[in-house]
Symmetry: D2
Subunit: 101 residues, 4 copies
C-alpha cells in the first residue's frame, strides 16, 4: 500500500465533486465518527462469540466500513499535516513502554 497514491486518489474524488470546502478537520473527524458507528452497528446485537463468526455479508460490510473510516482518517491527517505512519509508530512505542515491560 502506497499511502501517497491512495491520498492522491481520495483527493481526486474530492476535487471532482467540489467537496474541498466541506473537508475541514472538524468535519472529517465527524464523518469518520459516523462511519465508525456504522461499523459498531454490525456488532450491536451480536454476542462476543457471534462477533467472531460473521456471516459473509456482514464480514464484507465490516471491511467496507473499516475502509470508509480509513479514508476519512487519511483525509483528516492530510489536512492537519499529520504523518499517519509516524503517529502510529510513536504511539505504538509509547504503548510498549507502558504495557509491555
Amino acid at each position: 500500500m502506497n499511502p501517497d497514491a491512495i491520498l492522491r486518489r481520495l483527493h481526486a474524488i474530492r476535487d471532482r465533486n467540489d467537496w474541498q470546502r466541506f473537508h475541514s478537520p472538524k468535519n472529517l473527524a465527524m464523518a469518520a465518527s459516523v462511519e465508525m458507528a456504522e461499523l459498531v452497528e454490525i456488532f450491536q446485537w451480536l454476542d462476543e462469540d457471534e462477533s467472531r463468526h460473521l456471516s459473509p455479508e456482514k464480514h464484507a460490510h465490516a471491511g467496507q466500513e473499516v475502509a470508509d473510516i480509513l479514508m476519512y482518517l487519511m483525509l483528516l491527517c492530510a489536512e492537519l499535516g499529520i504523518d499517519m505512519e509516524q503517529a502510529l509508530l510513536a504511539k505504538l512505542a509509547d504503548n510498549e513502554r507502558r504495557f509491555a515491560q
Copy 2:
C-alpha cells in the same frame, strides 16, 4: 510501514497483558469508537477554521488519537481475517466508480 510487523507488536502487548479474552471483534469495535470520540472531542468547540490551525499540543493529541484508532482497527481486522489494505483499495475503487466519473 509494514502492517504485519506492527500487528506482531500489537499482539505482543496484548499477550503480555493477557488481554486476548477481551479482544472480541465486538469489543474492539467499541474500543475503536471510544478512541474516535476522543479525536472528535479535540474539535468539538472549535469552528471549522480553528480546526485547521490546531495548537501544537492539540495537533500532537490528534495524532495520538488517530494512532489509537488505527491500532484497534488493525486488531479488529486481524480477528476478523480482513485484509485492511485490500478492503481499502476495494472501497476506494468503488467510490471512484460512484463519485469520480
Copy 3:
C-alpha cells in the same frame, strides 16, 4: 411526560418482539451510540450557522434521532436501575457548583 408510562410501552414493544435477550446494558449503550451517530450525521457537512437553520426534513429527522437515543437511554437506565431524573438533577447540581459560581 410520564417516564413510567413510556417505559411500559418500550417494554411492551421489546417483549412482543422477544428482544429481551438482546437488551444487556452493554448492547443498549452501543445501540444508543449508533443512534447518536445518526444524529451527528445530519450536521456533519453543515457549517455551524447552517446547523441552526435546518430544512424541515432535517429538522424532523433530528427529532426522530433524539427520540431514538432517549428510548435506548430509558431502556438502559431501566436495566441498570438508574433513576434518570435523579441522575440528571444530581449532575446538574454538580455542574452548577463547578461552573456557575
Copy 4:
C-alpha cells in the same frame, strides 16, 4: 421533572460562562456524541452479563454520563426548537405501529 426548569438552569450555566457562541446545534450534537462514548467506555471490556452487574463506582459513573448526554440533548433541542417530549411520543407511536402489532 420539569424540563423547562432544567433548561433554565442549563442556560444559566451557559450564560454565566459565556458559552453561547459555542452552542451551535452542530457542536452540541458533537458534544453529546463524546459524552455517549464515555458511557460506552464503561462497558467496552465487560461481557454482557458483567454489564448487568456494575460495581457501585461504575454504576454511579454511568448515571453521570447519561445525565451529561441528556443535558446536551436538551440544549440541542432548545436550539433547534424541538419539543423533546413530542418527538419522543411521536417516535414511540411510530415504533408501536412498526414493531408491536
